[in-house]
């Protein structure tokens, strides 16, 4: 009995080895890394949906070539992300790796991909290292540099003359970066800067402290479940009417269904909004709603969609000759595709130069629908990130 078990196991292992042959046809192979398990899997789902929609729009042919797409789950762990990237590079022989939500995963994955001579198209995380000293001609970002979004909020609140701001962020690298970016443009008085525990669920203590300090405005960065919890508790504590709440990466199309009217009145800054009026975006949002049961895509999705379109523009420009890396780099730098954010330009570090808007969560079209995020005004026009000067690339 035991011998049979072992034989079967050995046979399965051997089968696994040969089950993945290296194909030699002229296809485009794209690897997409995101988080598909755990609570943050909801972001990965949105990104994957958008990638699939992009492929549909391109009739499953990127740059005119048949396309194979591989999805990998980084489980929010940099070493797993790296392993997934290596599997895509070595086993699936991908030409492009795209995606990655988290900065620490990106810092492990991007150098792995570029060192292997393949393109890395980042569609979310924008760590300052990759925008500055560690920039690379094979790394393109279709999202932003992490600091830009809070910088926009800082500028807005500075220009609006708001004083006595109370800051809250989780105590980890991204949390600190967000508040640093905010303070780069906001020069007014800060009442207190509070760092909460990563993954914290209960914010009553912080809310009581906040109320006792009596600020004029509150600015928070609380992504994912933390944001949902904070928003609910903020609303339940009756603070909505008392202290205007500003945030970044806390309220978006993915978290609104969980908080509904508790999000009303929320102000965020972002480079994109679902109501941005350009041809590509209206098509993206409209078709996304049609394909995915009325759901509205988030900015994570918009970035991922643009990532595929960027790759498409590169491959098209070299007429499918994937060996012509220099040609693709030159083509992608031109960003000759219709982006969901409107006009798309790259900075010298291959990060986008883009507008940033102030968004507000307003009531939806019908009394029963969820709030929607809508643009109120433009805060930055053609904003460049603060690390481009550290990047040695010139073109």
């Amino acid at each position: 009995m035991r011998k049979t078990t072992i034989t079967i196991l050995a046979g399965l292992v051997a089968a696994a080895f040969v089950a993945a042959p290296a194909s030699a046809q002229q296809k485009v192979r794209i690897g997409f890394i995101s988080t598909f398990s755990g609570p943050q899997g909801v972001i990965g789902e949105d990104m994957k949906n958008s990638v699939e929609l992009a492929l549909d729009h391109l009739k499953r042919k990127v740059g005119g070539l048949d396309t194979e797409i591989f999805y990998g789950d980084d489980q929010v762990k940099p070493d797993v992300g790296k392993q997934v990237a290596e599997e895509m590079l070595k086993k699936n022989n991908v030409d492009f790796v795209s995606g990655v939500i988290w900065s620490n995963v990106m810092l492990a994955v991007a150098p792995t991909v570029t060192a292997a001579g393949k393109f890395m198209i980042g569609t979310n995380a924008g760590p300052n290292q990759l925008a500055g000293a560690d920039c690379n001609e094979l790394f393109f970002s279709t999202s932003w540099q992490n600091d830009q979004t809070p910088e926009a909020m800082g500028k807005y609140m500075q220009d609006a003359g708001i004083q006595d701001v109370y800051l809250i962020a989780p105590n980890y690298a991204a949390g600190k970066d967000m508040l640093t970016g905010f303070k780069r443009y906001f020069k007014g008085k800060i009442v207190d800067e509070v760092y909460t525990r990563l993954g914290q669920t209960d914010y009553q203590a912080e809310l009581s402290q906040l109320r006792s300090k009596n600020p004029k405005a509150v600015f928070v960065f609380l992504p994912g479940g933390m944001g949902i919890q904070f928003l609910k508790q903020y609303s339940q504590a009756g603070l909505r009417g008392q202290f205007p709440l500003y945030s970044v990466y806390t309220v978006d199309e993915l978290s609104i269904p969980a908080v509904k009217h508790a999000a009303l009145g929320q102000l965020e800054t972002r480079y994109w909004s679902q109501d941005l009026k350009n041809e590509a975006n209206q098509k993206f949002v409209g078709d996304y709603r049609k394909k995915y049961g009325g759901k509205t895509p988030s900015f994570y999705g918009a970035q991922s969609y643009d990532g595929i379109m960027l790759i498409d523009s590169g491959v098209r420009a070299v007429k499918g000759n994937l060996a012509d890396k220099k040609g693709m780099i030159a083509a992608m730098r031109k960003a000759d595709f219709k982006s969901t954010r409107g006009k798309f330009t790259f900075n010298n570090n291959q990060f986008p130069i883009e507008n940033f808007y102030l968004l507000k969560a307003v009531a939806g079209p019908t009394p029963n629908s969820d709030p929607v995020m809508e643009i109120q005004k433009t805060v930055f026009t053609a904003h460049k990130d603060s690390y481009a000067k550290d990047c040695k690339m010139k073109w």
Binding site: E45, I228, Q229, K232, A258
Partner: protein, 307 residues
Amino acid sequence: MNFVLIAEQTLNGLQLGVMLFLLAAGLTLVFGIMNLVNLAHGALYMVGAYLTTYFYQATGSFVLGVVLGLAGSLLVGVVTELVALRTLYERDHLDHVLATFGLILIFNELIVMIWGRAAIYSSIPDYLSGHVDLAGGLHYPVYRLLIIGVGLLVALLLWLVVARTRLGMLIRAGASNRAMVAALGVDIRLLYTIVFGCGAALAGLAGLLAGPIYSVQPGMGELILIQVFVVIVIGGIGSIRGAFLGALIVGMVDTLGRAFLKPILATVVSPTAAETAGPALASMLIYLLMAAVLAFRPAGLFPARGT
């Protein structure tokens, strides 16, 4: 530092403690009586939150949602015990750990398959969402007071059951000497199922109370589970009194630490040092507390000999 704030934070700490108690009570009973390390306890908390949220939205009545959610948690607990856990009692703790970890994965993914990955919307019913004016200008949410009230009531009920009823006597006896209880002719398997079911119901109760104020999402149990383990270790395994006092201590220390540690530190070190050290220390505080307790009382503060 004003007294209203301190009072408010104390209430917050009390409420967090009570929430932890509901979870800790079930876990400590199961571990103390059945000697079962149940990592999936957090999953039962999640089930309670999901079922109540679902039934509340389906029926429009919060009360009905609570009743059905509670019944559902009890049912899920009993079924899990009968199907998966029965054979584990005689096994090593380590087998419990691996098997219940497997159960966590199963529960989480089943929730995902039914309700999707995104957090679902949960809310407090309107009649519970107001505020109460307590003495001295303290404005406290009704719902949070309700949680405190329910928690204290449950603590009282549990104490009555454990100290004054035959079932409670069996539970106490089982916590001290399982073999003897079985030898005395008590149907130990029925006792176990009842205890586990109660534990699951308590976890479900914690879940349904937490649902409206926390995020109802897959994996929500694991976020709070580690704090619960800290509570039962500080309190003493198998002891309800230990779970109650341990939970209150942890709730208080954690809340007051988060609120006041940084300002207190800022009086002894520079503001920038307090800025970095404060939050880091606040995260570690309950672990430091646990290490300190274990250093002086290796069996916890109120071990099960005679609760």
